[in-house]
């Protein structure tokens, strides 16, 4: 009886911990958000920021805040959330802690299709902005499919390590193809594309928020409803079959969701890797392995990380060092650390 109480207590303790962690993260995000609002070529005091937010700002302050900084930061939050949750889901499906939409070639696929699109149409029309996440999704899904097929071996199925290796190679191939194709572009589009590939949060416009938001609003609750399935898949193929999970179907649906989340995010932010790797890992350290907690918390961690990276990028140099570069500088050593610890 005593043991039972202890158990109930401990389960509640974990939930409590998850809530505590989430609240702390939200708090941190709010703080960084305000600091970030003040970072940029024109300085606004915190008081001015708050006044402006409540509609008391001058015209210039309104412009800076509502048309430049706010949309940019909202996008950073959304993209960070999307990439982190996508990474968490991918890691669950392929059971590989090194899986990340950037590393395994999904970003590259999205990039290629966005590039093809950009080389034919202008970016600025609303329709093309709404279309871009779809195109990115198609490209990313294509890349994911190719990677999946190429790393499949009849005798042993898909081994996590081979999947990552194939992903890296396919990403290298797609990147080479993009470089070759950029020859067709005019210098202006080329410059734009180069910044995009480096992972700058370029879509500093509410339109991009609108294009990205529906994807997250639909996919994140869906993925969350699959948390229990992800818990089971994480135990391995044979165990999940034994527990009665419809393996192939669940995997396909979840993979498509992860690709969708990553592709929509990348179409707005460009090639940002490693968020999908770091955020779920940090989250697991904080709240354990249960996906009921991992999904929402890694979303928060991802948002915080990208917001921070974007701010640092703008802080280091005006107008900006792309956030993708900052994230890679933090993320690559983390990847190496994980690699050294991993048992295979």
């Amino acid at each position: 009886m005593r043991a039972e109480k202890y158990k109930q207590h401990s389960q509640k303790g974990k939930a409590k911990r998850a809530v505590l962690v989430s609240v702390t993260l939200v708090f941190l995000i709010i703080i960084i958000f305000f600091i970030s609002l003040n970072t940029g070529s024109i300085y606004l005091t915190p008081a001015e920021v708050i006044l402006t937010l409540f509609g008391q700002g001058t015209e210039q302050q309104n412009l800076i805040l509502f048309d430049f900084r706010l949309p940019r930061m909202v996008i950073a939050l959304l993209v960070g959330t999307g990439l982190a949750i996508s990474g968490a889901v991918l890691q669950g499906i392929v059971r590989n802690p090194l899986a990340d939409p950037g590393i395994i070639g999904i970003n590259a696929g999205a990039g290629l299709s966005v590039m093809l699109f950009l080389s034919f149409f202008a970016v600025t029309t609303t329709i093309s902005i709404i279309l871009m996440p779809f195109l990115a999704f198609l490209g990313a899904a294509g890349a994911a499919f190719i990677i999946y097929v190429l790393s499949y071996k009849r005798s042993e199925g898909i081994t996590p390590m081979r999947l990552v290796l194939t992903g890296i190679a396919v990403a290298a191939g797609i990147n080479a193809l993009m470089i070759v194709l950029t020859l067709r572009l005019n210098p202006e589009t080329y410059q734009f594309l180069a910044t995009w590939l480096a992972g700058s949060i370029w879509g500093s416009d509410w339109q991009f928020v609108l294009a990205l938001l529906p994807w997250l609003v639909i996919l994140i609750p869906f993925v969350y409803s699959k948390a229990m399935v992800l818990n089971i898949l994480h135990l391995g193929e044979e165990t999940s079959i034994g527990l009665g999970a419809n393996l192939e179907k669940e995997r396909r649906v979840l993979l498509a969701s992860a690709v969708g989340l990553a592709a929509a995010s990348v179409s707005v932010s460009g090639g940002i890797g490693f968020i999908g790797l770091i955020a779920p890992h940090l989250t697991r350290q904080l709240v354990g392995d249960k996906y009921e907690y991992v999904i929402p918390v890694s979303g928060l961690v991802g948002a915080l990380l990208l917001l921070l990276a974007d701010m640092i990028g703008r802080f280091i140099k005006q107008p900006e060092v792309p956030a993708g570069i900052i994230v890679a500088v933090i993320g690559a050593p983390y990847f190496l650390y994980l690699l050294a610890r991993l048992k295979d």
């Binding site: 193929e237 034994g242 009665g244």
Partner: protein, 284 residues
Amino acid sequence: MKTIEVNKIDVGYANELIIKNLSISIPSNKITTIIGPNGCGKSTLIKTIARILNVKGGAVFLEGEEIHKVDTKEIAKRMAILPQTAEAPGGLTVYELISYGRFPYKKGMGSLRKEDYEYINWAVDVTGLTEVQNRAISALSGGQRQRVWIAMALAQGTDTLVLDEPTTYLDLAHQLDILLLLERLNKEEGRTIIMVLHDLNHASRFSHYMIAMRDGEVVTDGTPEEVMTCANLQQVFQIDAHLARCPHSANPICLSYQLCQAEKASACCSINSASKAYHQTASG
């Protein structure tokens, strides 16, 4: 009553079948063990029974229903499996992992109900994991980990348990510990247990029914008394076995063995002293 009927199954890839036209019945409420040399198809057979592998031809029936056709969640309520290489994410606690055994009974996001908690607590209890239930899996020893997996399978609340080499990678004491646990589950709860074991003597000591395989075919099946004979072991493993009685179960066990010479394969069993010794023990 037979729990599982394997009816003329073909398993493998298009051009290389590992198992061809194999039929076998697994009795209810008994411990059944599959033995055989490496590559004989025993793992393939048990994975097919567990529906991890698909059949190319024939069918496997669980309580009269075709296992690959029934909804996989329904099967999971009647048969639990423990794969050979089960590895949990290190951060999970024992209790959390065991609670995943209730997955087949869950609908959508539904959280655990009272009945689920009862099953989980019972599984924790019966496997003797109460002390460690809030520890992380990664902090457990190999033997304890195997217990956790068995507990998860028990939490599924099924009558049938399928285990692929549950004692591999464990030391002597932990091997026995797991097998005694399985024996108790069979005796006290009447569970049907089907497993693959490498150790002949464990197989003989703990099972009611044994299936010996070689080259994807069943060479012989029956009680340990029927299967553990010199002639059968010679045919299955190509060994010249020296048999004796197990002091614990009185079933035949293999004391020591020699490799059979191919040319005198037919002769080696009848004239060796080992089998004589066994017959003496048996009669005395």
